[in-house]
């Protein structure tokens, strides 16, 4: 594990304040299978903390233990100072939770969904209406107040659930894959809404996701989880910096001379050069100096650059670095298309 549980600059925690969420050596076993394996971290007040991992990594299991939904096999979890195993109701009262599955009642209206939850959370009658009106405005569903939930789009239903999780004005908010299944436009809308609400209500948020861009965009700190284990934890920037940097430069040149590949190889910080035909080269470099040098070299040699693309380290690279592979989804997909061996052929 790299980094530590030190809150970063984006939080509004008083120095020395107890963490909003603290997880100590927590594990969950289903029979012989260990879904979560000795995970520890803490989340400071006001922080947005991301749990990033592929399908089956144990993200939902972690959230469910922290939110009192399943029993903890080993270790402890504290929410706002309450041990979730010993004082589950105190913990429940101080958190809002959006489960992974969309669970709003489709037959009920938007407003009814919110009011039932307000009652379940014991919000006093006089506060209920005001809180619901404010939340509907915050998630931009005021217009749809009396619409049956089944008539809403996926993005709107997610926003309704965000509002539902906040009817009792909790300070700590758990969201399990809030944008999975949404189209790109709705995803961005949900991100913007969450950022705004977080600021306004001074929330601490814990989000799980398997989208790198989501974690990068929203989270102050990210914990990478794989096979139930925490494999890395830090700010997105530091995580990227911790991976041996490798920029990928793809350039296409008109009329490159025969020794051009050797000249590219000689540029500063270049690790490897690969010719891909039609004047196209793929260069892996360890620093940003390469690009400048490449352009200067081409200019002085009088060679026209037809195209140039530079990609720096992403969280994908971080993920591959720490887990040794791509997101597991893709592997599974690849296997799914392998033809079965014909009789007599070795598998």
């Amino acid at each position: 594990m790299i980094g530590n549980a030190k809150p970063n600059g984006g939080t509004n925690a008083a120095p020395g304040a107890p963490p909003a969420i603290a997880v100590e050596h927590i594990s969950k076993k289903y029979g012989d299978f260990t879904a979560v394996d000795d995970v520890s971290f803490s989340v400071a007040e006001g922080e947005i903390f991301g749990l990033l991992g592929p399908n089956g990594a144990g993200k939902s299991t972690l959230i469910r233990m922290m939110t009192t939904l399943i029993e903890i096999t080993g270790g402890k979890a504290f929410i706002a100072g309450h041990d979730v195993s010993k004082e589950p109701n105190a913990a429940r009262g101080s958190i809002g939770v959006i489960p992974q599955a969309m669970t709003s009642d489709l037959d009920l209206t938007v407003e009814e969904n919110l009011s039932i939850y307000a009652k379940l959370y014991g919000v006093p009658r006089e506060q209920r209406e005001r809180a619901i009106a404010k939340l509907l405005a915050d998630v931009e569903l005021t217009k749809w107040r009396t619409a049956q939930t089944k008539t809403l789009s996926g993005g709107m239903r997610r926003r309704l659930e965000v509002a539902r999780g906040l009817v009792h004005s909790p300070k700590i908010f758990f969201l399990d894959e809030p944008t999975t299944g949404l189209d790109p436009v709705s995803r961005v809308a949900v991100w913007e809404m969450l950022t705004k609400i977080k600021e306004e209500r001074r929330l601490t948020m814990l989000i799980t996701t398997h989208y790198m861009d989501e974690a990068d965009r929203l989270c102050d700190r990210i914990a990478i989880v794989d096979h139930g284990k925490l494999v890395a934890l830090d700010t997105p920037l530091k995580l990227k910096a911790s991976v041996p940097a490798e920029n990928v430069i793809e350039a296409q040149f008109a009329h490159a001379p025969p020794d051009w590949e050797r000249m590219l190889q000689a540029l500063p910080k270049v690790n490897s050069v690969q010719s891909e035909g039609a004047g196209m080269y793929r260069i892996l470099s360890a620093g940003t100096a390469t690009v400048t040098a490449l352009v200067e070299c081409a200019l002085s040699a009088g060679i026209e650059i037809k195209s140039l693309a530079v990609q720096s380290t992403t969280l994908d690279d971080v993920f591959v670095h720490y887990t040794g592979r791509q997101l597991r989804d893709e592997q599974v997909k690849a296997y799914a298309f392998v033809m079965p061996a014909r009789p007599g052929e070795r598998a």
Partner: protein, 370 residues
């Protein structure tokens, strides 16, 4: 307890928003009432009974006379006369006639000499209902033939005319208590079984469980909502079914109050029973797969469509343990016999005890976690 009412509110709002489901729980028992009421209400009529007279004597003529009178009056069967007993037997086998009566040679002589005269009835015993009807009718006739001449026909005519007057309505009335019970059970199967497990699988309960609702509030909320739905369908079928089948007791104040009480206790018993069955089920297929079995196991032995006295011992034992039997018994007493509380208090007590037992087993089994 406000949290409990939030659960009840949610369940009832959802129930009112999906009238299709509500209708199914009412329509099914009503259709059963009307179709079964008419299908089983009638007696067998115009069965074809082959008659082979190998005797040709005066006593054989007397039998044929009795048959002609049956054919003319009750019309249970019409005689078809054969010369040859082999052909008659073959026709029973291939279904051309429903039975054959063979009057053997020397029958009349044996009657006069009091030498145990016999006639033979050939029936197709693969059709149990038909063959037993014929056997029963002929038993009546032969008994009548053994007693003095004048009375039997009069007795027959009177006895049979009563049945002829209201054959359908009578059976429909008989079925109504079963239909009310069934309607409440279907409502419980849909609400407390199918929809409950669907909600669980869809994660609706996951949403509840992260709120500070207590286990008891959750259990009470779910069961209260289920009971309210069952009461609603019980009341509707009692009123509609009484109108269809012509039961008037329903609309007398005292009977109406007792009916309400029975419906209340029955819905509590059924709902807590379903709650226990489903308390640890996760898979939405389970309720769907088991409902046919549950229905058969609980509805048919209850005396709803056939009297319990006619059951074999083992099935009577099932009936004793079956909460349906008590509900059906109480509804029958109130609707058909217009009885008072003394006739039904033990049914109500049994159902209350069942509800108490079911909920006290289910409560510790109910998990307040996923």
């Amino acid at each position: 307890m406000n949290r409990m009412w939030a659960i009840v509110e949610r369940e009832l709002r959802k129930f009112l928003r999906s009238p299709a489901l509500m209708l199914v729980s009412l329509v099914f028992p009503l259709i059963q009432l009307i179709v079964l009421g008419n299908a089983f209400g009638g007696k067998i009529r115009d069965a074809r009974l082959g008659v082979v007279d190998q005797d040709g004597g005066a006593q054989a003529l007397k039998i044929k006379e009795a048959f002609n009178s049956v054919a003319a009056n009750v019309r249970t069967f019409v005689p078809v006369y054969y010369d040859d007993d082999k052909r008659a037997t073959a026709d029973v086998k291939n279904g051309k006639i429903d039975g054959a009566l063979i009057i053997p040679p020397q029958y009349s002589r044996r009657v006069y000499e009091k030498e145990q005269p016999r006639i033979a009835l050939v029936v197709d015993n693969s059709d149990n209902f038909m063959s037993s009807t014929l056997e029963q009718k002929l038993a009546e006739l032969t008994e009548a033939l053994n007693t003095p001449d004048v009375q039997p026909r009069v007795v027959q005519n009177v006895a049979l005319q009563v049945v002829e007057l209201y054959p359908y309505i009578e059976y429909m009335k008989y079925l109504l208590p079963g239909s009310i019970t069934l309607a409440m059970f279907v409502s419980v199967m849909i609400g407390g079984g199918m929809l409950y497990i669907d909600d669980k699988a869809r994660g609706v309960h996951e949403g509840y469980l992260v709120t500070p609702i207590t286990k008891l509030e959750l259990i009470l909320g779910l069961n209260t909502a289920g009971a309210i739905k069952a009461i609603a369908s019980g009341v509707v079928i009692t009123v509609v079914g009484s109108l269809i089948s012509g039961v008037t007791a329903t609309f007398h104040v005292q009977q109406a109050i007792l009916l309400g009480l029975t419906i209340l206790v029955t819905s509590l018993a059924f709902n807590t029973m379903m709650f226990l069955f489903m308390v640890r089920v996760e898979d939405p297929l389970v309720p769907r797969a088991t409902f046919g079995v549950l229905n058969t196991l609980l509805f048919f032995p209850s005396g709803a469509i056939y009297p319990i006295n006619a059951f074999p011992k083992w099935l009577q034992a099932v009936a004793i343990a079956d909460p349906f039997s008590y509900a059906v018994h109480a509804f029958k007493a109130l609707l058909l016999k217009e009885a008072g509380i003394t006739a039904i208090w033990h049914d109500l007590l049994f159902l209350t005890v069942i509800a108490a037992i079911m909920i006290s087993i289910a409560t510790p089994l109910f998990k307040r976690t996923l």
